[in-house]
């Protein structure tokens, strides 16, 4: 019989090996899936993990694109990780991402076509405000009316999507857009554009911000009192209260932090890669970031890597679609497997497997 025995000491070696093991298992089972679909499993897996990084045809373009795809995931996931550590569950980052984009976009469009160096920083500020505002609704409802922030934040995603639709066809619609939905293209409005830092790479200010955030929030989490309080509240709310943590304030701060970073990500995405407020502006970064946060073990540096891994599977997965005619759903299953193995392997971090006799 197999028995699980809790580990008294967590082994750092096992913690480090497990993600690699999980990726290995995903490749094996994913390979079987691809083989069943009639594709060469080695070629498919090579194309997902190797070609975007190393294939000479794609790599020059795809390498920076991985960072561009990863940046919003990393920013949002870092914000979420603080709340998750303290058992404060913001599931609505997607909505906060949208509201950050709408707030900053509305500000930018209000000043169109005037040029000013102050506009972009002000839009960044408004992006954060938009996200914080949307996250403050579940925060205040939870602190004052004891509602469940999981449900409220999630439901507000759908409200935000309606606001987005209203903005695209109504108050932010491009007056020169021939009646089609969607705002003016902010990436073509110099003062509002989130420009490339390295020309031709696609790497924009949001990518730089994501990297800086990793360092900043790593320090905040491990070297600052706030990070300690967050972690303590998650492990033992009672102990946290006794040590002077105000649980209400913590809920508000954690939701504001995650909302603000999601709004920031929305702002950078709007003014850079996406360009326009459109009905389909949001493509699920806010939800994928939840997975990225857990894959990265709620640690900013871990999130940096898990964000890039997710981005790699997106970019590589696209290649397999039109190079090998693999259906998009197969890639989603493959991504799902990766998460499943990583999270289930976590068991080995906390438990030892013992074979015992009856």
């Amino acid at each position: 019989m197999i028995k699980l025995v809790p580990r008294t000491k967590k082994s750092p070696i096992i913690s480090a090996i497990i993600p690699i093991l999980a990726v290995g298992l995903t490749m094996i089972f994913g390979g079987i899936l691809f083989w069943i679909l009639g594709k060469d499993p080695f070629e498919t897996i090579r194309m997902i993990f190797w070609d975007p990084l190393m294939n000479e045809t794609f790599a020059d373009y795809a390498r920076p694109q991985i960072l561009v795809k990863a940046a919003p995931l990393i920013l949002i996931a870092i914000g979420l990780s603080f709340g998750f550590r303290a058992n404060i569950w913001n599931i609505g980052a997607e909505g906060q991402f949208i509201m950050g984009a709408i707030f900053s976009g509305a500000l930018g469009l209000a000043f169109y076509p005037q040029e000013s160096v102050l506009l972009f920083p002000l839009m960044i500020f408004f992006g954060v405000i938009g996200g914080v505002f949307w996250a403050s609704i579940p925060a205040l409802l939870r602190t004052y009316f004891n509602t469940n922030e999981i449900l409220v934040s999630l439901m507000l995603v759908y409200v935000a999507e309606q606001v987005l639709a209203a903005a695209s066809i109504g108050f932010l619609r491009n007056p020169e857009g021939a009646g089609f939905p969607g705002s003016r293209n902010l990436s073509q409005y110099p003062s509002a554009a989130n420009l490339e830092i390295i020309s031709g790479s696609g790497i924009h200010w949001g990518v730089a911000t994501a990297f800086v955030s990793v360092i900043f929030f790593y320090i905040l989490l491990y070297k600052h009192k706030f990070g300690f309080q967050v972690s303590l509240s998650g492990m033992s709310p009672k102990a946290a209260r006794l040590s002077g943590v105000n649980p209400r304030l913590l809920v508000i701060l954690c939701l504001a932090l995650s909302g603000g970073l999601a709004g920031l990500a929305g702002m950078f995405e709007l003014t850079g890669p996406a360009g326009q407020i459109t009905i389909d502006f949001n493509v699920g970064y806010g939800f994928t970031a939840i997975i990225v946060a857990f894959l990265g073990r709620l640690n900013p540096i871990g999130i940096l890597f898990s964000g890039m891994l997710m981005a790699l599977t997106y970019v590589g997965g696209e290649l397999t679609q039109f190079m090998l005619n693999l259906p998009a759903a197969a890639i989603q299953v493959f991504q799902g497997m990766l998460l499943f193995f990583l999270l289930s392997m976590d068991l080995l971090v906390n438990y030892k497997i013992k074979l015992a006799r009856f």
Binding site: D40, F42, E43, R46, W50, N55, T57, F58, Y61, A62, Q65, V68, K69, Q162, A165, A166, I169, G170, A178, G179, F180, P181, G182, N185, E269, G272, P273, A274, G275, Q276, T278, I279, D280, F281, V283, V315, E318, L319, Q321, F322, M323, N325, P327, A328, A329
Partner: protein
Amino acid sequence: MKKIINFFLTLSGILLLGSGVFAADLKVGFVYVGPPGDFGWTYQHDQGRKAVEKAFGDRVETTFAENVPEGADAERVMTQMALSGHDMIFATSFGYMDPVMNVAAKFPNVKFEHATGYKRADNVSTYSARFYEGRSVIGHIAGKMTKSNVVGYIASFPIPEVVRGINAAYLAAKAANPNVKFKIVWVFTWFDPAKEADAANALIDQGADVLMAHTDSPSPLTVAEERGVFAFGQASDMLQFGPNARLGSIIDDWDPYYIARVQAALDGTWESTDTWDGLAPGMAALGGFHEKIPMDVRAEAMNLAVAIAGGRTHSFTGPINRQDGSAWLAEGETADDGTLLGMNFYVEGIEGDIPQ
């Protein structure tokens, strides 16, 4: 360890070579906004892709990427397609417009075909179909077939294309049956079978006995079949989803256009063009009429279709007033394409407002 690494490097090298051996004269990529299994918009584009494969055999290789979100992701997918040696890319959704323009500027040798957009360049063509011509025909049938005089209309987004369809269907229905009323539900999605079904049920509950949809899934038709009312196939024929309910269908038939454009690219005669074809060349086609439609109505519908295709009738022929009662088209005047392309108003008689 080094040996293992070497082994894998060699292996990947072999695989790399293997993938480059086969080469057709022309490699054509298709970018889809939905899944080819939607039995609507994307399904018909994929039928067009298959028609190209069938027409040219080994001379042309086709590939596709499905469920590609509009915006940054579309730009990346098209760039990777261009990098991987595609000579021609069909971008089959309106929202791919700016990404197409960006990628086309970077790859002047790749030919782009953008569906339903209005921005063009030397290597970017646009194409769309005059679906409103088909909507006039099914509008006529709807007007004749409704007993409750309420036609339910499931609309996706308030864009000119959809508004034009509502107006065309309403005018034809009204001409066929002066008592007809349209109830319109905006679902703000192109493809969400559950939401489309909810809308269909709501419309039937409000007394509609004929449904029209301008969304991509067959679910309104499935609901109509269950509830015993009539509906139409949209984008594809959809007969199998409502054998008793489906009165007719408007079919997006991209096959001839796709074959012609690929042929032009093969011949070296491809040029940037703007195509807006209707019933005449068959880009908007009609599915077979249901036998429940009386013979005389079928004949009227056929005559209308033939007259539109032959240019003898226009879906928008005056006198037509706008919803607010102001004059739009005088007696005998027909709408110009510019107004149609930007249509953002209802014609007189339609109740409710276009969401703003």
